[in-house]
Symmetry: C2
Subunit: 142 residues, 2 copies
């Protein structure tokens, strides 16, 4: 989660909402990414999506069933959907997101009957620092 938090801080420095994500396989980091939709002109460029795409590319396959995802914020519907498509084994995340989260909030995607893959979910990892990064970012923008 340290690497994910660092990627989130880096995203903030680039003017993006500070969220960071890391894909880990057999205790080794396969991909690290920060949130970057504005910088990349890509509405799908959330940290989770970028990390999953980079890991899949690095491993040369479209399924990551032996990989875990660490992310500083509760994933949104788009990212939770991608996590299911990628068959991520375990999801660790920091702060909950009542406004945009889709794991413990909103549509709670992994609990939907049509969800075809449910990772193990571990919330609240590094929550305080992840939430502080977001709070400071939005406070400075006001």
């Amino acid at each position: 989660m340290r690497a994910a938090l660092d990627a989130a801080a880096q995203a903030a420095a680039e003017g993006e909402v500070p969220v960071g994500a890391v894909v880990v396989r057999h205790a080794i980091i396969v991909a690290v990414a920060g949130n970057a939709p504005r910088r990349l002109h890509d509405p799908s460029a959330h940290a989770e999506m970028r990390a999953i795409r980079a890991a899949a590319k690095a491993l040369g396959r479209d399924r990551l069933e032996d990989c875990d995802l660490w992310v500083t914020l509760e994933p949104c519907a788009m990212c939770a959907g991608a996590i299911a498509h990628a068959r991520i084994a375990r999801l660790y995340y920091g702060a909950g997101d009542p406004k945009g989260g889709a794991v413990e909030h909103g549509p709670r995607l992994f609990g939907q009957p049509t969800c075809h893959h449910r990772p193990e979910v571990y919330p609240g990892i590094g929550e305080r620092e992840a939430a502080l990064l977001l709070r400071d970012f939005f406070r400075d923008r006001r």
Copy 2:
């Protein structure tokens, strides 16, 4: 929708589940893409995601509020989430997808209170041909 159906047929020819998508702006096609997660080693490479990403890149911005998306199959949660993030104005789609769809089935994302953007939705456009492409693809795979 003709271009989206052609992209779906092309995806089938490449061994991918036949779904195609097109982004249109002011009656001009900005991007066309077929489903390609296996070929690209990218679990997020659904037709809608690829078309949205290509359109955003072509237009040099991360929001497509003046664009419409045409897709041959009801979008899944990942793609519906991306459609909301991209602020797509109108969504036209072909066949409904009771197993994986997230617009009229499953989580019905655009009806969720936490959904921050709802496109106008027009289902059933080119439905018969879109469904036939999928049926033939899965029949040939059995």
